[in-house]
Assembly symmetry: C2
Homo-oligomer: 331 residues x 2
C-alpha cells in the first residue's frame, strides 16, 4: 500500500509515479475494449499472462473498471445490498436512473420493479393490504395479468375521495385484485374526518371495522409515501388545505404514509390529526412481516429516509438517485 517502488534501472524511460497502475489500464483496454485474451495482452505488453491477470484484478479492485448494465429493467444490485445492510431492511429494489426522460419515466420504472417484486413474492400473500395514490396506481398498471392467483386485496387507508372522481383509489385495489384473480375489499371511509367523534363512530361501523381488522391481518402490505407539499394527494382530494400542510411542515412533517404525516424520525407529527385519520396505524405497519414501500422520485428523499430509518417497511422499492441520497447524507 505505502510502497512506491524505486526504480532500479534509472536509464529506462518511465514515469516516476506508479507504473503498474498505468499498465493495468493498458491491459484493461486491450482485454475489455479489444477483447483480447490475457495471453495476447501479455504478448503485447511484454508481460506474462499471470501478471496480466493480476493487473486486471487490481484494476477491478481499485474501481477502474466499471461494468454497467444499461436497460430500463435493470436493477442496481450493489446499491440494493448496501441499502439492505445500512437500514436493516429485508430487501431493497433500486431501479437505474440513467436514461430516464423525466419523473414519469422514473416512476414507471419503479412501479414496474415493484410489480415484478410483488409477483415474485413467496409465499404468495393471501391478503394484500394496499394504499392508494399515483404510485400505487402505476404499480397496479404494471402488474401482469395472473401475477398471482387468489390474492385478496384490502385497502389499508381511507380513500373515498370527497371531491375528485371517486374511482381512482378503488380502481387501484380492484385492478391489483383482478389481475390476481382475487377479491378486492374497499375501505368505505374518508381518509381524514373532521371530528374525532365521527371517526370513532365510522370505525365502530361493522363494515368499516371489519375491513380495518382484515387490513390489520393482511399477510403483506404495499404502499407508497407522499411528500408534505401542496400537491399531495390528500390536499388534492380536499382532506387538507395547503395551509394545513404548511403547518404540518412547520412542525417537522416530511411526508405521509398511508395518510399519516410523519417527521424525519418517523413519528406522528400531529397526534390529534392522526386520531382523525382512518386506516392502519403505523405501529401495525411496523409489526408487519412484509411491507413494501414504493418511494421514487427526486422529491421523496426525506420521506424515504424517514420510512427506512423508522422501520416502516421491510422492503423498499426506489430509484438510484434516491438510494444514493439515502446512503450518502448520513455517515
Amino acid at each position: 500500500m505505502r510502497t512506491r517502488r524505486h526504480r532500479t534501472h534509472p536509464g529506462e524511460a518511465l514515469e516516476t509515479i506508479d507504473n503498474d497502475e498505468l499498465l493495468s489500464i493498458r491491459a484493461a483496454e486491450l482485454y475489455y475494449d479489444e477483447n483480447k485474451t490475457q495471453d495476447e495482452v501479455g504478448a503485447i505488453l511484454k508481460l506474462t499472462r499471470w501478471k496480466v491477470g493480476r493487473l486486471l484484478a487490481s484494476a477491478k479492485e481499485k474501481g477502474f473498471i466499471r461494468i454497467e448494465i444499461v436497460h430500463p429493467r435493470a436493477r442496481k444490485l450493489t446499491l440494493e445490498r448496501t441499502l439492505r445492510e445500512r437500514f436493516a431492511i429485508r430487501d431493497a429494489i433500486v431501479v437505474p436512473a440513467a436514461g430516464t426522460n423525466g419523473a414519469d419515466d422514473l416512476r414507471a420504472r419503479a412501479a414496474q420493479a415493484a410489480a415484478d417484486y410483488l409477483a415474485s413474492l413467496r409465499p404468495v400473500p393471501r391478503t394484500l393490504g394496499v394504499s392508494w395514490g399515483r404510485t400505487l396506481h402505476d404499480v397496479a398498471e404494471h402488474l401482469s395479468d395472473g401475477w398471482a392467483t387468489g390474492v385478496n386485496v384490502v385497502q389499508i387507508n381511507g380513500g373515498v375521495s370527497v371531491n375528485q372522481r371517486a374511482g381512482t383509489a378503488a380502481a387501484t385495489a380492484f385492478e391489483i385484485a383482478r389481475k390476481a384473480s382475487g377479491q378486492a375489499t374497499l375501505l368505505p371511509s374518508p381518509a381524514i374526518l373532521e371530528r374525532l367523534e365521527t371517526k370513532r363512530s365510522i370505525e365502530a361501523d361493522r363494515t368499516v371495522g371489519g375491513v380495518l381488522s382484515m387490513a390489520a391481518e393482511a399477510s403483506a402490505y404495499l404502499y407508497s409515501a407522499g411528500v408534505a407539499g401542496h400537491d399531495s394527494a390528500l390536499v388534492e382530494s380536499g382532506y387538507l388545505t395547503p395551509n394545513d400542510v404548511d403547518e404540518l411542515v412547520r412542525r417537522g412533517a416530511v411526508g405521509d404514509v398511508v395518510g399519516r404525516y410523519i417527521d424525519a424520525a418517523g413519528m406522528i407529527v400531529d397526534p390529534s390529526l392522526d386520531e382523525r385519520t382512518v386506516g392502519l396505524s403505523l405501529d401495525t405497519l411496523r409489526r408487519a412481516s412484509t411491507s413494501i414501500a414504493v418511494i421514487a422520485g427526486a422529491g421523496k428523499i426525506a420521506v424515504a429516509r424517514a420510512v427506512v430509518t423508522s422501520g416502516l417497511c421491510t422492503v423498499l422499492v426506489t430509484d438510484e438517485a434516491t438510494a444514493l441520497a439515502l446512503l450518502d447524507s448520513d455517515a
Copy 2:
C-alpha cells in the same frame, strides 16, 4: 429477429414482451454485479449454464452491458479504431472526457497521451519537427526525461514572438530535445512577416534556410492547431490583429496549422497572407510519413475536422468529445 415467441403455456405469469431480454438482464446482474458464476446464475434463474452463457452473449451484443475503464490515463480504443477507419489515418489516440475538471484538465490529458505516443514511436525519429503553442508546451512538459535518446528537434514554423516573452516557443523545443538528450534547432524568424520581400529574404538567409530544409526533412512532425479566434496565439503574439482574424473567419477560416489559416476543406484561406508566413508548407506536412496532430478541447472540432479530412496528419491525438463530434456530424 422478427420472431416474437408465442406462449405455449398461457397459464404462466409473464410479460408478453420479449422475455429472453429481461432474463438476460437478470442474468447479467447476477453475473456482473454479484459476480456469480454462470452455473450459479443458472441455478437461480432455473436455466442451464449454457443458456445463461447465451443470454449473456446476447446482452453484450445488444449493448446492454457497458464496460468502461475509468482512469485519467485510459484511452478510448473503440473510438480510436473508428476514427482510423473513417478518416484513413494511421493512428488515433482518444483520451476520455469523463471526470475532467475544466478545459485545462482535458488538455493535460491529451498532452500526456501525445507524450506517451511520441515516446512509443518506432522507429524513434532522428529529427522531430515541432510547432509551438500552449498545447505543444503541455506536451513537452508531460514528456518524461529520457523518452528517447538522441532525437533532434527542429521548429517547423516561425515563432520568435515580437512582443511577448520570447522564450515560450523556444523553450518548448528545447525541453523536448533536452528530455531526449538531443539538439534543438530553432527557426529564428517571426511567424508572419509584413512584407513578402522580407519573407523572401529571410528565407534566403543561410541560417533560416538551413533550418527550413532540415524541418522539411524531419522524420516526424508534432504540432497542434489553433482556433481562428481572438485568443489565438498568433493574435496574442501580435502577428495578427483581431480584425485580421475576423476577416479570415469571414473568408471561411476554421483555424491555423503551423501558423497557416485553413478552411473546412483544409485549403489555405488567404494565399497572400500564407506567402508571408514562415515555416513548413502544408503540402510538405501532407507528404510526411509521420505527422502527429494534438487537437483537443471543445472549440477545436472544426479545425480538427479540417485537419483529418484534408490529410494533414497521419496521427490524431484528441479527446473523447471531439472524437465523437468528428464521427457524428458527417454521415
